[in-house]
Amino acid sequence: MSDFVYDLIGLAAGVLFILALKGLSHPRTARRGNLLGALGAGIATVVVFFHGEIENLGWILGAIAVGTIIGVPAARRVQMTQMPQLVALFNGVGGGAAALVAIVEYLNLGDKATTAVVIFTVFTVVVGCVSFSGSIVTFLKLQELMTTRPVVFPGGRFVIAATLAAVLGSSAWVVIELGTTPLLVVAGLSLAFGILFVLPVGGADVPIVISLLNAFTGLTVAASGYVLNSTLLIIAGTLVGASGTILTRMMAEAMGRSLFGTLFGAFTAKPQDTSGAVEDRPVRSGSADDVAILLNYARRVVIVPGFGLAVAQAQHTVRELADLMISKGIDVAYGIHPVAGRMPGHMNVLLAEANIPYDQLVEMEEVNPTFGQTDVAIVIGANDVVNPAAQTSPGCPIYGMPILEVSNAANVIFLKRSMRPGFAGIENELLYDPKTMLLFGDAKASLTKVVSALKAL
């Protein structure tokens, strides 16, 4: 195969990667996007065997087989909740691979060693190693094999700064001296730096760091591409680097975290104040986008309005949301609790004002048996009327009151402003349930956002 054809096929794989990322940005095309990416990677891998001399073929195929045997079952068997740490691990080994490739290439370099090539090689080694060790630490954190809280030790920030300086210094040494030993020193120091970099990062920030390390790994691949003169690797690596950077920023924004704080947490070396500080128990809070996606892919949604809907005067907005869902073919009902609100029939008055057809309003007794077939119950400014304490906590003020059993739905979304309780003044366990997602904010504002997000899907 001529160089040109080979490069052309590489470019085609690059295009597939572009299409993959494009596809992955949209729920409807995400799966196809991923498959396109896999196709690109497959083509790129196969074609390399038909280009130029391939020695050690057996070793190569064997190694690929080993990698497959390790990677596929891990990916297949992992539980939903453990996926993030697996992604971290995969990212780490990718970084490690890039570093190894660079080291081997370096050993092999000989007279091709222009300064630029050496710089790129060292860059790959440094970043690849940081990504490797950093990812391993995030993996350990997420898997709870070590503490999830930020690990901070006295003088930590000086140690980190010193390590970074050592990494840079030894890198310069490699560029100037061109020796194997210096390179191994660089690798070791980088590994250490990766660990130190991630240790002070606390719980909620970990995914952001994974995303960042992912972008880093992308850049190492691009750098390898330069060294190996491969357009494909340049394009693929840069793509991942760029999109990963944007993604990291978006993730930080979506979680309401400061990217700067996350990154330089290591240097400021003070424990981040995590959301855990506000509430003792963790709750799962989501964005309007998350809510919209859940709704978009639901077949049946039950809306549970309460006093908060009335306070926010969000009746028109809730109708808008319901209409939108209905137009998407989703089965929508309102589950009306007899004492929702502060007046008998409060919800009726409210919803009638928005001209919501009477036949969409379903009484408690009728709606309760249907929660089992409901994908999403969206509780808007209600609290007591869905509080399981009414069934489980004898002695509490609402004990014995029948409730809307939203916890039987596959997902529960709460729209409220805070963790404050409702009229009866008692905590609602359902807020802490793993299948509950909270969208904080005034019900009207939140609903408006959800409507926009749902329209955009």
Partner: protein
Amino acid sequence: MELTAIAVISIFTLSIFVGFEVVSKVSSTLHTPLMSGANAIHGVILVGAIIVCSHASTTLELSLSIAAIILATINMIGGFVVTDRMLEMFKGKKGAEK
């Protein structure tokens, strides 16, 4: 044929734009799958690993590059598989019209 510096820079710059643009508006539910997909893509370092392995002369080089191949394969194949699994929730979607 070697790529000229300006070609590399051009390709790099344009790729950055493409990378920025294609993911510029992603809903947060897709953040993790997108990250995972991108992660799998950088598994193409496998190509690099194969190349260096095929030129490996010393045992050190060979063993390092074999390690690189294994790691890269895990990254690439595992990455795509895990991403696909994450995206299962979008499978049963009814044709949300528009």
